[in-house]
Every structure is written in C-alpha cells, then in structure tokens.
C-alpha cells in the first residue's frame, strides 16, 4: 500500500514535470525543429542575449512586474489600513468591492479594463499595461495585509503617541514593522501574478509593447524559438534553486516540521 502511494505521487510528478524536462532538453537541442534531436548545443543561450525582441519583452515583464508590485503594495497596504479603520458597515461594502476582481475571471477583468482605457481614450501601451497590472495586484496585497492588521495590538499605536511619537512616527516605527510580513508576502504575490500574467496583458497592451507572455503567445502560432526555451530554463532553474535552497535550509533548522506556514511559497 505504501509503495502504491509513493508510485502514485511519482506518476503525478512525472505528469507535472514531463513538459518542463522536455522544454529544458529542447533548449540544448542543436536543431530548430522540435521533431528531431540535432545534438547538444549552448547556441540558444548565447543567441538569447542578442535577440532584441526577447530581451525587450523580458525587460517589459520585469519592469512592469517590479513597478506594479511596488505601487500595488503601497496602495494595497494603505488601503488595508484604511479599511481596518473604517466602521463595520462601510468596511464590508469596500471589502466586497475589492474582492470583485478575484471572483471575476481574468478574461472579464481584462476586457473591462480595455473598455475603461478605450473610453478614457488612453493610448494602449506601457502605461495601460502597468495600470492594469496594478489594479489586479492590489486586491491580493489587501488580502495578505488585512490578517496582520487584525492581529495588531490596538493599543500600541496609542501608546506610541502617548509617549510622544507623531502619527507618522507611530506608523513607521510601530504599525509597519508589525504588519511587514503581510506586506512582504503581498509584494511577492503581486510580483508573481504580474510576471505570470497573460490574459489581462493581452487585452490592455498595444502599440508594440509586449511582455514575455504576449511574445510567447504570438510565437506559439508559428513556432516557438528555442531561445525562449533557453530563457525559460534559466528562469526556472533560478527559481528552483532559490526555493529548494530556502526550504532545505528551513527543514534542517526545524527538523522537518510539517507546518505549511513555514514553507516559503509565495502563494
């Protein structure tokens, strides 16, 4: 029975990793076609860095991801604090409004933002892409900051002010450090969501601005360049090493505790 269970997990892993292993293999394949193996090469890794289209898409993905994550983290953190200070009634209303984009499918979010930009006559491009990413990231930040605020000792901020701190000092020295884990995980979630997004980006970009997802989507119709495989393999390897490394270090420290909260997965 125990063997059977392990075999089952093994099969699921094989299912999940088969296409990834294949993709990494193709990134070393010395042939443009995916049908045959033309020998081992590092050509695609070299050519990757001189491909202007891919590098610019990578740049867009990273800069949009970083900017959207920073801005939505600031907006979402202040939003969560504002929500926290509201009275119960209005807070419930605001919370359901903020949760709306998460209930909606990505297509609806993308289309609705496209309509907004079209009506406001904003030229589709980098700015609209950034605005769209910020707007679908904010709810996730709010959601990860709110629980931390609820755990906050309500008298602490008052105590700080009694002891002579200005409201600003009270915020930066007392409240912010306490909710920082929530802020940070919100930031990571926003970054991941933005980097991985395709659907919303597809509807809200224009005039030659495209991120990696859109570039891959366009390529998929006429064949994906092995250079993209090389780039994805690099990204995957980096994330893999980072996450496995972090978790292994933790496992050693905690002696393999099964507590899920301790795993470092930005989801």
């Amino acid at each position: 029975m125990k063997k059977l269970r392990k075999v089952y997990i093994g099969l699921i892993m094989a299912f999940l990793y088969a296409p990834i292993v294949l993709l990494i293999l193709y990134s070393f394949n010395d042939s443009k076609s995916r049908a045959n193996w033309g020998g081992f090469t590092l050509r695609w890794y070299k050519e990757l860095f001189s491909d202007a289209q891919i590098i610019s898409a990578l740049g867009t993905t990273l800069s949009i991801g970083f900017l959207a994550a920073v801005i939505s983290t600031i907006l979402g953190t202040f939003g969560a604090i504002a929500l926290y200070q509201m009275k119960r009634g209005p807070r419930q209303v605001m919370l359901s409004v903020v949760n709306l984009p998460m209930l909606n499918s990505e297509v609806v979010t993308g289309v609705s933002l496209m309509l907004l930009f079209a009506i406001a006559q904003i030229q589709m491009g980098y700015v609209t892409l950034l605005l769209a990413h910020i707007s679908f990231c904010v709810p996730y930040v709010v959601l990860s900051v709110m629980p931390k605020l609820r755990q906050l000792e309500p008298n602490l901020a008052e105590a700080a002010q009694d002891l002579g701190a200005t409201p600003r000092q009270g915020f930066f020295k007392v409240i912010l450090p306490d909710i920082m884990p929530g802020v940070f995980s919100g930031f990571l979630m926003a970054l991941t969501m933005s980097i991985d997004d395709f659907v919303v980006s597809f509807f809200t970009t224009g005039s030659g601005v495209s991120n990696l997802s859109i570039t891959i989507y366009t390529m998929a119709k006429r064949g994906i360049s092995p250079k993209i495989n090389a780039l994805s393999s690099l990204i995957f390897a980096a994330v893999f090493i980072l996450l496995v490394g972090l978790n292994l270090r933790d496992l050693k420290k905690t002696g393999g505790s099964k507590n899920i909260e301790k795993v470092k997965i930005p989801y």
Binding site: K6, L115, D196, I235
Partner: protein
C-alpha cells in the same frame, strides 16, 4: 479623523475607477447595441446636399455616427444554436476538468499529509514549482509530446516496430501509423487538468493538514477502520478545501481561451475564445460584453451553489463522528 480621510480617499478612488467603473462599462456595453444615427437629407442654402442628424447637427458627409441603444438583442443571439452549443461545451469541459482534477488531486493531498513522506512540504513545493514556468510554454511543450510527429507517437511507433504483437494489437483496433492526440476536446481537457491540478491540491492539502490528529486517533481507538475514519472524519473536514479547489479550477477553466487555442488548434472554440474574438477580429464590443456578463453570472451562480453545500454540511461535521 483628518488622517483617516486621507487614507481612505485614494483607495476608494482606485476601487471606483479600476473596479466599479470597468464592470459598469461591461454592463452598459452588454445591454446596448450600436445603431446608425437617424438623419434627414436636406439641401443647404447654397444648394449642396447635406444631412441633419437627430441631435440637430448638420454635416455634408454621409452620416457615419453610431449611437448606443438599449437592447437585449445580444442576449437573444447567445441562445442561437451556434453560441448555445459553445456555451454548453465550455461548461462540459470545465466541469470534466474540475472533476478530473479532484479525482487526481485529492489522493495527492491525502498521501502528502500522511506518514509516507518525510518532507511533505518539500513535495508540495515541487508540485507548485512548475507554475513558475510560463503556462503558455508548458502547454506548448505538451503539444510537442502529443503531436503527430511528436514524442509519444515516435515511442509508440518504435514499440510497434520492436514488438510485433503490440503492432498487431494496434492494427486490429484500426489504429493507423500515427495516433491523433491533439486538436480535440480530450486534448483541451488534458491541457486544463495539467495547468490547474495544483490549484486543486493546494487548498485540500491545507485543510487536511489542519485536521486535529487526535480526532483520527479517537476514531481508531473507538474501533473505526482506516477507511471508515476517512469517510467519517477526514472527508467531511476536508470539504471546505475541496470546495475552494473546485472554485479555483472551475473559474479559469470555464473562461480560458489560450489552452483551447493551443491544444484544440482552433477546432474546439470555447466561450472565452468567442469573447476574445469580439474584442479583436470581429470587434463587436457589445456582444463581447454581453458574453462577459453571462460568464460572470455563470461563475457567481456556481459559487453560490458551492456555498450552499458548505452551509448544509456545516452542522454535521461539528459532533457526528460515528
């Protein structure tokens, strides 16, 4: 008080502009259609022909202006057989995907929370890790496994050439040289199950992990077999995770357009494809918005139904173990 207002205002403004207004626009576009503006032909004083529009403006060019008129024409269009079939197919594929994810994913969560694996969290992380590779690429990679000249077919061919008995078995069943895996509903379902399986495993794992182990011990002490304590303890307690998993798989599955385009090769269009088309090539934003409204209603109805299940089950899992 003043500071409070300062905090609320930008956030409320953001929520209105980027959440409420866009949804309002979808609703508005959804219940309206464009009609040419009415006009009358007139002759100007100098004798040139002109057109007087219904709002009173006069122009010499043929009127091109359109106006939005409230109409439910688009909703009638949706129940036309062409679109109705697509809608039913989307629902069918999404439900099948959800079911398969549940059947495949629940055991994974259950096994990982058991005693077989020393570092279950590490395994869980390995299950989530593939999501870090762009989903378009992973789906594309499946295509190179399944296509006619793909890896799976070349393995099968090799096997058939090596073992005549297998070749006979295939030939007897009328299978040609290549097996067509791609560009049908099954391929689309495979692509969705692959992309959404972790969405099912994660919430179920989290919930099962939190079940008080002493409950299971108590069940065993009182003579319950492992299967009985699974049915009476683990299963009811894991229900919230199952419901969350179902939502997380169903919502993207019912609206995706990328997976159906890649794995279905355009032969299995879903409702998401039609929406994408209305905002692209066909450029009928009104019909696209009506379809988006429909999708929202379907999703909300589905989640409402799920919540009902959750409520019905609530009192039962409090005390009744046997």
């Amino acid at each position: 008080m003043k500071r409070k207002g300062l905090m609320v205002l930008p956030f409320a403004l953001w929520a209105i502009i980027f959440i409420l207004v866009p949804l309002g626009l979808i609703a508005w576009y959804g219940i309206t259609v464009e009609e040419p503006v009415a006009y009358t032909e007139i002759t100007l004083e100098d004798g040139t022909p002109a057109f007087r529009l219904e709002d009173g403006t006069v122009q010499t060019q043929e009127p091109w202006q359109k106006k939005a008129v409230i109409s439910f024409q688009n909703f009638k269009r949706m129940v036309e057989p062409t679109y109705l079939r697509l809608l039913i197919r989307s629902l069918k594929i999404a439900l099948l995907t959800t079911l398969i994810c549940l059947i495949l994913g629940y055991p994974v969560a259950l096994i990982l929370t058991g005693k077989d694996f020393k570092h279950p969290t590490l395994w869980l992380m390995l299950i989530i890790l593939p999501m870090w590779m762009n989903f378009l690429l992973r789906t594309y990679s499946w295509m190179s496994i399944l296509e006619n000249s793909g890896i799976l077919n070349s393995w099968i061919t090799a096997l058939r050439n090596a073992v005549p008995a297998i070749d006979q078995w295939f030939t007897a069943r009328g299978v040609g040289n290549k097996i067509i895996f791609l560009y049908n509903e099954n391929a689309v379902i495979l692509g969705m199950v692959y992309n959404y399986l972790s969405f099912m495993i994660m919430p179920i794992y989290t919930v099962i992990e939190k079940i008080d182990k002493s409950l299971l011990e108590a069940a065993a002490d009182l003579g319950a077999s492992p299967s009985k304590s699974f049915i009476r303890v683990t299963l009811p307690y894991s229900l919230p995770g199952v419901l969350e998993g179902i939502t997380m798989v169903f919502v993207p599955a019912v609206t995706t357009f990328v997976i159906s385009q890649l794995m279905g090769g355009g032969k299995v269009p879903l409702i998401g494809d039609i929406i994408q088309n209305q905002f692209g090539k066909s450029s009928d934003w009104h019909f696209g918005s009506s379809l988006s409204l429909l999708v929202m209603v379907v999703v909300l109805a589905f989640m409402g139904g799920l919540q009902q299940i959750d409520k019905d089950e609530e009192p039962q899992k409090e005390v009744r173990i046997f």
